[in-house]
Amino acid sequence: MSTQNRGTVKVENGRYRVSGNFHYAFPNDPIRDENGKLLGITNPADMTHIHAYGGEAPFFENLSNAKLLGTKCANPKCETYGSVYIPYRIHCPDCLMRNEEVDLTDLARKGASVHTFMITERTGAFNTLEKPIRFVNVEFEGVSTILMGYLSVGEPSIGMKVVPIFQTKNPTFTIMDLSWVPAGTSADELPEGFSL
């Protein structure tokens, strides 16, 4: 049973146009105990979902342009007017007006530090990051939220200054296109496909 011709999707006139295979059928196998008694069956499943980024699409698109976008509440009547958000929030959580996009790339290059971190050898199924993974939760001066990411060079510590790097070559258009390295890391130390 092969999984060739995996499905791809385009949008035309506001509708999904799909081509290729979005699922592959495999036969079941019986599950038996040591005496040969039937207890159940395996249910193989291989499916591809179609997922809309919606209003967050600019964030994921721009990682590949080496840009880190956040948003801010631009409603002067809002109690938390001017609050800056990264993760990118489409609407202000207080007034629910549409937030304004802000480019945080420079701020991230100058004023980002590790709020907390962790290192893991264990991952769940479908992980594609190299192990061990070093999670860093990054705080920015003047931003009310803390962004989760992963460190690609060096060992993390709380308070460490970090700068963003971006997968500009062969981007995946996911959060994995954004990674972090200690401030002062040179371009030739970066993983394949990433740039400062």
Binding site: I31, D33, L39, G40, N43, H51, Y53, E56, F60, E79, T80, S83, Y85, P87, R89, P93, D94, H115, T116, F117, M118, I119, T120, E121, R122, T123, G124, A125, F126, N127, T128, L129, I133, F135, N137, S144, T145, I146, L147, M148, G149, Y150, I158, T174, I175, M176
Partner: protein
């Protein structure tokens, strides 16, 4: 929101009191290949009926609506599984609804049943929860659980939920634990305690007689958390029956008053904005003014170290039941020990200890059945069931199991339900030679905390013996 209106801080006022009549649970295990989920649900229901000396038919005659807690449809690979369960329990055509709030599903299921009875919609309601986490291998299970993190912003980073907790553990350890080895050992003590109590529980999946060294030497899952710091993945079911006063006393002569409340916070810890600490009745406005001085880096609330959802659930529940100081007013608790670190965080969120001082609940011996330093009864024993680390985390069933365990102490029937040789045998488990009676003597009031995600949903369920109600309840 980071500020609250008067309306939002209202202590819930129910139209009538609600009582816990009975509860029951199945065996819990990592895999139960010989039983369908429906069979486990029936096991739980039969135990609940037997507990009040009723036949299943007699118990069913009272039930008017049903609340089903089952978190992960993708684990069970069966959408609308509630309809299957409802049919197999023979409860059609009564109304039923499925409830899912991650790890708090069990608590939320009780919350829904509670409101149904309190409002007068039903005189008696069934809250049943279950989970089937053995349909995929562990790494796929970890991926599924990690799907309860943000799918675009978090899940792709490792597909491992423990990692999303480990960053909190790291922050807490450095700020409030001051990176002390002694703090890491205190975390390990929680696992030693809960695995040890699980040895006295025939339902429990992971009884272990271990030491702090065993925990510290267990494989690292996500530094600083190790395998023995983490909760289980489980299969099993549990249920409770709630009723109004008149019906409760028809069904049994000893029902318990029940109050359930809920709080929430963002799915991503990332989105939690800095705010003032909302205070519980046993705290004063000044007490946290110097928190950042005493614990450098500890002044960002809730940051990565507090669970605002737990604090809000406790705030509402304490108002409803009249609790001022949980350590004084309660006799035991069952907490959501998903990880040893989140257990400590929760002590502070629910006011057992002030923020920054959670470790002292363990280090004082207060959290034990018998205080290891004094040999006297622990002031507020926690997780005598074994909790999520020792007993189980069959997600939809967990919060309900906790409430049953607390209730059995208040009913004075904990030993009866845990010592029974026939039950140990039926579950194919060996009762330890040093089996110890963990009944909390004279227990009158207790609480169970049910918790989801990295604190996205939390419920608090307080049980009170009707002869021992507190003054000042809402």
């Amino acid at each position: 929101m980071i500020k609250f209106s008067k309306q939002q801080l209202k202590i819930p006022q129910m139209s009538k009191p609600v009582y816990l009549v009975t509860g029951g649970m199945s065996k819990f295990d990592r895999a139960i290949p010989e039983k369908r989920t429906e069979e486990l649900v029936i096991d739980a229901f039969l135990e609940a009926a037997e507990f009040i000396k009723k036949s299943p038919e007699e118990l069913k005659e009272y039930i008017h609506s049903c609340y089903y807690g089952h978190f992960a449809d993708h684990f069970g690979d069966q959408l609308l599984g509630e309809a299957v369960i409802h049919d197999r329990l023979g409860l059609d055509p009564l109304g039923n609804v499925g409830i899912k709030t991650g790890g708090a599903t069990g608590g939320s299921t009780i919350w829904e049943a509670y409101k149904a009875v309190a409002s007068g919609y039903s005189d008696t309601a069934l809250a049943m929860g279950w989970e089937r986490m053995d349909e995929v291998p562990t790494d796929e299970g970890n991926h599924y659980i990690a799907s309860a993190a943000d799918k675009d912003w978090e899940t792709p980073l490792g597909h491992i939920y423990t990692g999303y907790y480990a960053v909190m553990a790291q922050k807490y350890w450095q700020v409030f634990g001051k990176e002390e080895e002694s703090f890491r050992r205190t975390l390990a003590e929680i696992a030693v305690k809960n695995k040890g109590y699980a040895r006295m529980n025939p339902h429990a999946q992971s009884p272990m007689n271990i030491t702090v060294e065993d925990v510290l030497n267990s494989p690292t899952v996500a530094h600083p958390l190790r395998a023995l710091d983490c909760c289980l993945m489980s299969v099993g079911a549990s249920c409770v029956i709630l009723a109004d006063e008149k019906t409760a006393y028809e069904m049994t002569d000893n029902p318990l008053l029940l109050y359930t409340s809920a709080g929430s916070h963002t799915l991503r810890v990332a989105d939690r904005r800095d705010m003032d600490i909302p205070l519980l009745p046993n705290e004063s406005p000044d007490q946290y003014k110097d928190l950042g001085l005493r614990f450098p880096g500890g002044d960002r609330y809730p940051g990565f170290t507090g669970f605002l959802a737990a604090r809000m659930a406790a705030y509402y529940a304490y108002g409803m039941a009249g609790i001022v100081d949980p350590t004084e007013d309660l006799d035991l608790v069952e907490l959501h020990d998903a990880f040893t670190i989140s257990d400590i965080q929760t002590y502070e969120d629910i006011g057992i200890r002030p923020y920054g001082e959670g470790r002292t609940y363990v280090e004082s011996g207060d959290c034990y059945h018998t205080n290891p330093f004094t040999g006297q009864p622990g002031k507020l024993p926690a997780n005598l069931s074994g909790g999520l680390i020792g007993c189980m985390h069959a997600v939809g069933a967990t919060g309900i199991m906790q409430v049953i365990e607390v209730a059995q102490h208040i009913w004075g029937r904990w030993s009866e339900m845990h010592a029974d040789e026939a039950k140990w045998k039926r579950f194919n488990r060996e009762k330890p030679d040093d089996w110890t009676d963990l009944q909390v003597k004279g227990a009158k009031r207790g609480m169970a905390i049910s918790h989801a995600g990295v604190g996205s949903h939390v419920t608090a369920t307080v049980l009170v013996h009707p002869d021992h109600q507190l003054k000042g309840r809402g």
